[in-house]
């Protein structure tokens, strides 16, 4: 008996080891039992809640990045709002312009060309519509392709039209892309090509740009197509610009006469200004 106690005392560590290992193995075996399962699930619950807290604690460190991301997103949305508000405003303005212009377009009189005189320097058209039809001097004559000319004389049933291809014809035009202003004229020769005057060499006008009548015109409403720039050659102060006319004059047979004209008030004030300045020049 004493020897047994002595053995136990000498090897108590081994016995401890065996005892606690046995206990551990027992727990491992009992782990599937309900009580231990409950304890284990409680442990899991504690684990989950602490993990959640730790995760939310870690989120504090991510707040700065999150804040930056939100600021960027905010900036993107803000710029989008500005862009869309601008587009909305522009659309509103354009609609307003269209509404106003439609009231100014007026109506068109259809007329047939009954006579024409084509020469290298002086071209003239005669149309079968006159004052009885409502045609007045200085009305713009056009086709769906573009500007034909202006009415220079009116009789009861006929009207004389000075076409673009007349050396005395001048019209203020503007380019669609660079908004370059210039005066359209024709110097004789080719019936398809006119010239653009008063275009400074510093202008951003490019070959291929479409030209339309401008607001500065004294007879035509703005926006009537005139032609397309086909050549630009530089000189000292002004560029020499060739314009391919959009109207095919040799095959012209019918034209439209526009009743819409620039504001009379505008023309009167311009005329008054001219009469004031003319004596000074002399």
């Amino acid at each position: 008996m004493l020897s047994i106690f002595r053995f136990i005392a000498r090897h108590s560590a081994y016995l401890y080891f065996l005892l606690f290992s046995g206990l551990s193995i027992l727990i491992m075996q009992l782990q599937r039992r309900e009580t231990l399962d409950a304890i284990r699930s409680q442990g899991m619950a504690v684990n989950a809640s602490v993990s959640e807290e730790l995760t939310s604690f870690g989120d504090i460190f991510n707040l700065r990045d999150e804040n930056e991301r939100l600021l960027l997103q905010n900036a993107r949305l803000f710029s989008k709002v500005i862009r869309e508000e601008t587009a909305l405003r522009d659309t509103r303005n354009l609609n307003e312009i269209i509404r106003r212009d439609s009231t100014r377009v007026g109506r068109f009189f259809v007329a047939r060309i009954v006579d024409r005189r084509f020469s290298p320097m002086d071209n003239m058209l005669l149309i079968n519509a006159g004052s009885r039809d409502g045609i007045e001097k200085d009305m713009a004559v056009l086709t769906p392709d573009g500007l034909v000319g202006r009415v220079t004389a009116v009789s009861q049933n006929y009207a004389r039209v000075m076409p673009v291809i007349n050396k005395d014809f001048k019209a203020s035009v503007v380019s669609d892309s660079s908004s370059t202003l210039g005066v359209l004229s024709w110097k004789g020769g080719n019936e398809y090509v006119a010239h653009l005057e008063n275009v400074p060499t510093s202008s951003r006008l490019k070959v291929g740009e479409r030209l339309t009548t401008s607001d500065h015109s004294t007879f035509a409403i703005r926006g009537i197509p005139v032609g397309r720039v086909v050549r630009i050659s530089g000189s000292k102060l002004f560029s020499e610009v060739d314009v391919r006319l959009s109207v095919d004059f040799p095959s012209l047979s019918y034209v439209l006469v526009s009743s819409a004209r620039p504001s009379r008030e505008k023309l009167e004030i311009m005329k008054a200004e001219e009469t004031k300045t003319e004596p000074k020049r002399k």
Partner: protein, 152 residues
């Protein structure tokens, strides 16, 4: 002990390299076993393993591993009667820690396979990487805290 189990479970268990992670509990089990004694080490290892096991969901295995670590480290117990030097205490602590941690990791690799790794990868990687990472922790803890207590 509970604090250590919580630290182990929520911090060190998350640093996993091929199934192995540093084990702060094993370091303290080794310390208790080497400095105080093998029996205390076994009891400490079992209890600490049990607490950690309840958190991880496998108390039996964790308790067994803790018991094995306490038992193994106990072989490097330094009796105060022998008036050991500081160097001897340190050497015995490191030896006990390395042996017990390796034994604990071996048991863990044999009895569990959380990452479903093949045995030829799992056993060496868990034993080597687990022991190395825990030993790194042991050196750190020794230099920061345990060194002062061993001076007394």
């Amino acid at each position: 002990m509970a604090v250590l189990a919580v630290i182990q479970h929520f911090i060190f268990s998350r640093v996993v390299i091929l199934g192995a992670s540093p084990d702060i509990l094993a370091v303290f089990i080794a310390y208790v076993s080497v400095i105080i004694g093998q029996r205390t080490g076994i009891v400490f290892g079992f209890s600490a393993g049990l607490i950690a096991g309840f958190l991880s969901g496998n108390p039996g295995l964790a308790a067994l591993i803790g018991t094995v670590e306490g038992f193994t480290a106990g072989f490097f117990h330094v009796s105060p009667d022998s008036h050991p030097t500081m160097v001897k205490k340190r050497r015995m602590f490191y030896s006990g820690a390395a042996t017990s941690i390796a034994a604990g990791n071996l048991f863990q690799a044999l009895l569990s396979n959380p990452l479903a790794l093949p045995a030829w990868v799992r056993i060496p990687s868990m034993v080597i990487l687990g022991t190395l990472s825990s030993m790194f922790l042991a050196v750190l803890i020794y230099q920061l805290a345990l060194k002062r207590t061993l001076r007394d």
